[in-house]
Amino acid sequence: MNFELSKEQEMTRKMVRDFAEGVIQPRTIEIDTKAEFPADIFDQMGELGLMGIPFPEQYGGSDGDTLTYAIAVEEIGRICGSTGLSYAAAVSLGASPIYYFGTEEQKQKFLVPLAKGEALGAFGLTEPNAGSDAGGTKTTAVLDGDEYVINGEKCFITNASFAKTITVTAVTGKDDRGKNIISAILVPTDTKGLTITSNYDKMGVRGSDTAEIVLEDVRVPKENLLGDPQKGFKQFLYTLDGGRISIAALGLGIAQASLEKALAYAKERKQFGQSISKFQAIQFKLADIAMEVELARNMVYKAAWLKDQEKNFTKEAAYAKLFATETAFRAANQAIQIHGGYGYMREYEVERYLRDAKLLEIGEGTSEVQRLVIARQLGC
């Protein structure tokens, strides 16, 4: 076994850390309070090649691997959950399905601008009545001549207001057993009949764009169907497996940040004549956080590594997502506790970590769904 990262992975970590600390850190509190998507930061991330890490050069990517990408998400998440979420969603949900399942033509047309960071992607899966039950999708796509006509409604779609293309899931027919066939269709956001609104007032990840999408007789060429028309459901399950690694990495970043802030504060804060880090009550909290952060890191990296080795990673991605995001929540919660009253104040940032971490236990498959995925993998 070799736990050592490659030089490229180390260099990526250093670069992304420097970038996140230098460019994003000064603006994190403002990004949260104003709930404004930092589009200019994404332009810079695009120029640095961060938006295309796990894609080959021929599609505008940086030719990195999943692990390198996970490290980048971790480092962005360590500084800003909002930016980290939009980043993870753009790559894992916006661009990845096109890379996995797209035709050469679709990749050139839709993936290249996403990988180069010239445009953002989004994945329209969730509906008002189809959350964890993605099979209950109500949006329909009916073939009319050479075009699909799409009707329906999507909600909680990350990055949609800033996206150039949205991959929308829709029912395209019924199989032999009468079950819905769900397909994924690429919809450019300037298509007539597509309305995107972003009115959510969120608890956390406030600087990440979240939007509602209404599709009314939206017509796209039938060539925009992504991948196998019969296997849309399987395809997005695979996409979500990959997405889980990135959300896990984001949780890891927030957990790491919580640890660093809590440890620094505990060493500095004096009560009863000494640093509170000298008290066992605080030490035990810090020891638990540090241990969980490291365990989460091992699981996230292992899931990413399995994906890079083209081995099955469904179960491990669920382990990673479940453990790392719940670790983030616990770590942020304890970091606030260690900060006491100061921790409740925005300026100290740990309260934001908790609000941001909460989303990670819900988005891209709730903690409960992760447990279901694991149980299914166990053969239950």
Binding site: M11, M15, G49, I53, E57
Partner: protein, 257 residues
């Protein structure tokens, strides 16, 4: 243009320095490209992009310095050279470094050599000027602006906060000061391409040097940390008495007057 950059791998400035057995403890510390050398690398890349040619980054050190060399390649340098002294050099000082670099540059064609103003670890600031002396070329230290026009370099340099403007002829050695440029982050494609760029590894043998040739001219007697900052003292009482006490403390305790 043939451009060379002298780079040093140093401690991260934010690291806490630990001394054990008279040496600075390196275990577990973070190492970075000396920040002043980053200005040199950035300037070299910009000059290459403007005038054509090639940027070669040179460092002396151990295998570990490969990471910093690769980072320089990822930023955009074309070639890297690691002069690995791990097995040959026990103790070294500025003389050692200059001697090795002199041997390295002996058969090289160069128009411009850039270095950092100082390395943030030992901060001698000697390597650039001493190497230029040995190579018998002009040098300008602490530069904050550089324009190359044919065989002439138009330079602005930082002189204790003031700016001095001067021209120098190529080949030339300059040392770079903060403000010269804003070093870029290495891009992801840059990082990935860096592994395919040439990184040559040399040892003293390859430069026709013996260990004796590079023996340091200085000896380290002691390595110690600055004394920990003590709590300040607040004087109390009548102003006249406070002044008297202060003067007496400055004279007798801290002995500054």
């Amino acid at each position: 243009m043939n451009i060379y950059v002298l780079m040093k791998r140093t401690f991260d400035t934010e690291e806490k320095i630990v001394i054990s057995n008279g040496r600075i403890e390196e275990e577990g510390a973070e190492f970075i490209i000396n920040p002043y050398d980053e200005y040199a690398i950035e300037e070299a890349i910009q000059l290459r992009d403007e005038h054509g040619g090639e940027v070669t980054v040179v460092t002396i050190g151990s295998e570990d310095a490969e990471k910093q060399l690769r980072t320089a390649l990822a930023m955009g340098a074309d070639k890297a050279v690691l002069i690995n002294t791990e097995d040959d050099v026990e103790e070294s000082d500025q003389f050692t470094t200059v001697k090795i670099l002199e041997a390295f540059f002996d058969d090289k064609e160069y128009d411009l050599i850039l270095a950092g103003n100082v390395a943030i670890d030992q901060a001698s600031g000697q390597i650039g000027p001493r190497l230029a002396e040995k190579l018998n070329i002009p040098y300008v230290t602490t530069i904050t602006n550089l324009k190359i026009d044919g065989d002439t370099a138009h330079i602005e340099r930082d002189v204790e906060g003031d700016v001095e403007k001067l021209d120098a002829s190529l080949p030339l050695l300059v040392t770079c000061q903060q403000g010269l440029n804003e070093p870029r982050y290495p891009s992801l494609p840059g990082i990935m391409k860096a592994k395919k760029k040439p990184l040559e590894e040399l040892e003293l043998d390859d430069l026709d040097l013996d260990e004796d040739d590079v023996e340091p001219k200085t000896k380290t007697i002691e390595v110690f940390l600055p004394p920990a900052k003590e709590a300040g003292k607040v004087l109390e009482g009548e102003i006249d008495d406070q002044v008297k006490e202060l003067v007496s403390l400055l004279r007798n305790e801290s002995k500054v007057i």
